[in-house]
């Protein structure tokens, strides 16, 4: 056994050994070890790390948008600074039709993007998880009812249903988020139900049931945790879709309203200038591309890392 007070490199080595041990001494050690293994597999994937980098950059930009933005995102200089090309003094990415700095608007707009993604994730994913696990575990008529409701939602194209909801609720960023959350949960319910079906009949569930656990306890404590990893992957992969749907609603004038610097709405206003001032539409387009790509790469990497089947190999 090595000396715990020896050189730093050997201390790292000992942490590694402790985390990767085949015989964990406590549940906490086992759990941490598991996370470490996932991280090792995740970090071996360069593209996944790029995706994570994009997400971290987005978080940082959103957090420090006020400091980073050189100009106001909503107050422009219509008279003197309209439609300046990228690289103009003071306006790195050019200005839009109202004389507003596109860079500042993109930076501030990252908050809206993040807000949409985060709110949809924290509302749609738990709803889908709950519906899916309950349906899968209960079976019978409850399963039939819940799954038919899910089917009805899945029968519509996502964007079309979201548009209908926003049209009914009235345009605005809050309603857009609500609409996207409402159309986003059914796939999660499907995934959760499928996972539940596979573990429902397993021995340890039967053991818990024999010990007198209520169905609620079984679903929440013993089934949901098992569904989480596939759900996380699915949500991460969907992030790009959510961003695109939000941008699509913004583009159609149903999402964020002026003067909010929502990226989709920015493209919509830039469309008018596309022949002569390409940058007005292209800059937010590039931003959406980078962020959606980042989320996709991250989701891909997470799937590879979290997939229990690959864990054995």
């Amino acid at each position: 056994m090595s000396d715990p007070t020896s050189s730093p490199s050997s201390r790292v080595q000992s942490w590694r050994t402790w985390l990767l041990t085949e015989f964990p001494a406590s549940p906490a050690q086992a759990r941490l070890g598991r996370v470490y293994v996932i991280w090792l597999r995740f970090s071996a994937n360069r593209l996944a790390l790029t995706g994570l980098g994009v997400l971290i950059a987005l978080l940082l930009v959103a957090a420090f948008a006020d400091v980073l933005a050189p100009h106001s995102a909503v107050q422009g200089d219509l008279m003197n600074a309209r439609l300046l090309p990228p690289g103009s003094p003071g306006y790195l990415l050019g200005t839009d039709g109202q004389g507003r700095d596109i860079l500042s608007r993109l930076l501030q707009g990252s908050r809206l993007t993040l807000l949409v993604v985060a709110l949809v994730a924290v509302t749609a994913a738990p709803i889908g998880l709950l519906v899916g696990t309950v349906a899968g575990y209960a079976g019978g008529w409850l399963d039939a009812v819940l799954m038919r409701v899910t089917d009805i939602f899945l029968a519509f194209p996502k964007l079309v249903l979201a548009m209908a909801l926003v049209a009914a609720l009235g345009p605005g960023i809050e309603n857009a988020i609500l609409a996207i959350a409402i159309v986003s949960w059914p796939p999660y319910a499907r995934v959760a139900r499928a996972e539940t079906m596979t573990v429902r009949g397993s021995d340890y569930i039967a053991a818990v049931r024999l010990m007198g656990a209520s169905p609620g306890r079984i679903v929440v404590r013993h089934i949901m945790p098992l569904c989480l990893s596939s759900l996380i992957v699915r949500v991460t992969l969907d992030m790009a879709g959510i961003i695109l749907t939000a941008a699509g609603l913004g583009f159609l004038g149903l999402g964020a309203q002026p003067p909010l610097p929502e990226w989709g709405a920015m493209i919509a206003t830039g469309r008018r200038f596309i022949l002569d001032q390409w940058w007005v539409a292209a800059m937010p387009g590039i931003a959406i591309l980078i962020v959606s790509l980042g989320f996709n790469l991250l989701g891909d990497g997470l799937r590879d890392a979290l997939d229990p089947k690959e864990a054995d190999s």
Partner: protein
């Protein structure tokens, strides 16, 4: 066996045909496209005309329809587009006004005919007026305001003989006003014989006590006029085809055919014009206009229109009803920047409600962006920290751009402006029901006379919710008995100079105190290829004549 040979042949032929099709497809896609020039005797215009609902002059009240009707129908008298203060003879050769200014007698040109070949008589004129009043559609008020009703119309507008038409009004209006109203599309003369043949019997109802539709159903999509062109075809949101009327009584049109293609986007029109697919582009935005100005193959025609853009403050909102707030808001529009950018080439700044070029127009522009002054005024009104207010905006340029600019300048004085987007119908319905805070939009003059705008901006006979006269002042719940009286008096003033002075006075009062913030007067722009000659836009939408235009 005998059967299989022809079958084989058919198959071969099919194969050949599909090969040829594939080849031609790949050629059109692969090879650089060859653009056919538009024919010499045909003018092709790209234009957004999705607003056209009907081609019946007695019913139509839309901007695009007015232009088409102006080219295919004739009125008794027409506006002189070079000097809008006078009217020119058209179907009428001459006219007299009685000393009491109540009776107008028109002598028709002799021996003139409709495109159908039927002669144009005073009977046709009387019938056209009668059906407009009796159908009682959108534009009927332009004639009805002279005291015409379904009961008295045959007496008030009648044929004395085949060549003489007499029109009687209820008050001694200024003759210029009456004649200007008679240039409107609703007063266009339709072919009585042709229209009557196609009239359908209907069951009289509470809305319409007549047993005929006056040919309205047929005339919606057909033609019974006598203009320099005939309306050959109209396919909604696709194409409009006009053909020369060889029996036209005036100077014959120079072009054999005029084609209006429905092309909505400015960028699309610009590309088609540059490629030579079209001769004239009609819905260009400032950015595309600037790019086309640099093209030496393309010339630009622009013309001030009788349309003003404004935003208005609903006086039902207690904050907007404060005079100091109204004044402060007028100082919160960056008119100079808007004029230099958003409406460059498509509008001129204008702050009074009568458009330049019309009797009584003045060019007072006292309000410019002055945030400090606005803040002072807001503080005096008891709102030093500003307030929040909504604006209903139709999602169409340049209106949305201007609304965003106003949103920014309002914010500088602490006023939070929430933009509520909607399509034209939604926004207008809300506005007409007086449920808005701020509305932004345009007002197009109904007929070329200052009364059209004066009546709507500075007259509100009854401010009740169920009033019968729903002027713009009413829509904004602006109760103005004194101004209403003054507006009515201007109508009876027969001295043109005095009449103009009254309108100037009215406009200054509205400018100083009214709930209307006038922004600009529209300039209509048409960009055309330089081989097109004498392409002109008129001051109103029914005077965009193409009969003088030709191509080299």
């Amino acid at each position: 066996m005998t059967m299989s040979i022809p079958r084989l042949r058919i198959r071969r032929a099919l194969l050949g045909a599909s090969l040829a099709l594939g080849l031609s497809l790949s050629l059109t896609l692969g090879a650089p496209r060859v653009y056919a020039e538009t024919p010499k005797d045909t003018l092709v215009l790209a234009w957004a005309f999705d607003d056209i609902i009907t081609m019946d002059p007695g019913e139509s009240f839309e901007i695009s329809t007015a232009e088409i009707l102006g080219n295919v129908y004739s009125t008794l008298v027409r506006l002189n587009i070079d000097d809008t203060s006078e009217v020119l003879p058209s179907i009428a050769e001459s006219w007299t006004v009685s000393d009491d200014a109540l009776t107008y007698t028109f002598t028709l040109k002799p021996g003139i005919t409709f495109a159908s070949g039927n002669p144009i008589t005073a009977e046709d004129v009387a019938f056209s007026f009668e059906r407009a009043i009796k159908m009682d559609k959108g534009p009927a008020f332009i004639l009805a305001q002279f005291g015409l009703t379904g009961e008295n119309i045959t007496e008030k507008a009648k044929a004395l003989d085949a060549g003489t038409f007499q029109f009687t009004v209820d008050k001694p209006y200024a003759p210029s006003f009456v004649l200007n109203c008679l240039t409107a599309t609703v007063a266009m003369v339709v072919d009585k014989k042709l229209v009557t043949e196609h009239a359908e019997a209907v069951t009289p109802s509470a809305e319409s006590p007549y047993d005929t539709d006056f040919g309205n159903g047929w005339l919606k999509t057909h033609y019974a006029g006598s203009g320099p062109f005939i309306l050959r075809d109209w396919r909604a949101n696709e194409v409009l085809v006009l053909e020369r009327n060889d029996t036209y009584f005036g100077e014959k049109a120079k072009l054999a055919r005029v084609l209006y293609r429905h092309l909505k986007e400015s960028a699309g029109q610009r590309l088609a014009l540059e490629a030579g697919d079209i001769d004239v582009a009609r819905n260009l935005e400032p950015g595309d206009l600037v790019a086309l100005e640099a093209n030496k193959d393309i010339a630009i025609e622009s013309q001030s229109k009788g349309t003003v853009y404004y935003f208005s403050l609903n006086q039902k909102n207690p904050i907007l009803a404060k005079p100091k707030v109204r004044e402060a808001i007028k100082y919160l529009v960056d008119d100079k920047a808007i004029g230099a950018t958003l409406i460059k080439g498509i509008g001129t700044l204008h702050q009074t409600y009568i458009p330049a070029g019309m009797l009584g127009a003045i060019d007072d522009r006292p309000y410019h962006l002055d945030v400090d002054k606005a803040k002072t005024l807001l503080a005096e009104a008891g709102l030093p920290d500003g307030f929040t207010v909504t604006m209903d905006v139709r999602t169409i340029q340049p209106v949305t751009g201007i609304a965003e600019s106003i949103q920014q300048t309002f914010a500088q004085a602490g006023i939070t402006l929430e933009i509520i987007p909607g399509d034209g119908k939604q926004v207008l319905t809300k506005y007409r029901a007086r449920n808005h805070d701020i509305y932004i939009g345009q007002w197009g003059t109904d007929y070329w006379d200052p009364n059209s705008n004066a009546e709507t901006f500075s007259s509100n006979p009854d401010n009740a919710d169920d009033a019968s006269s729903k002027t713009l002042a009413w829509r904004n719940a602006w109760d103005i008995p004194a101004l209403t009286e003054e507006t009515a008096s201007a109508l009876l003033e027969r001295d043109t100079a005095k009449r103009a002075a009254t309108y100037a006075d009215l406009q200054r009062k509205v400018l100083a105190d009214g709930p209307f913030v006038l922004l600009y007067q529209q300039t209509e722009v048409g960009a055309y290829r330089i081989n097109v000659k004498d392409y002109r836009l008129g001051p109103s939408f029914d005077t965009n004549y193409v009969d003088k235009t030709f191509k080299e």
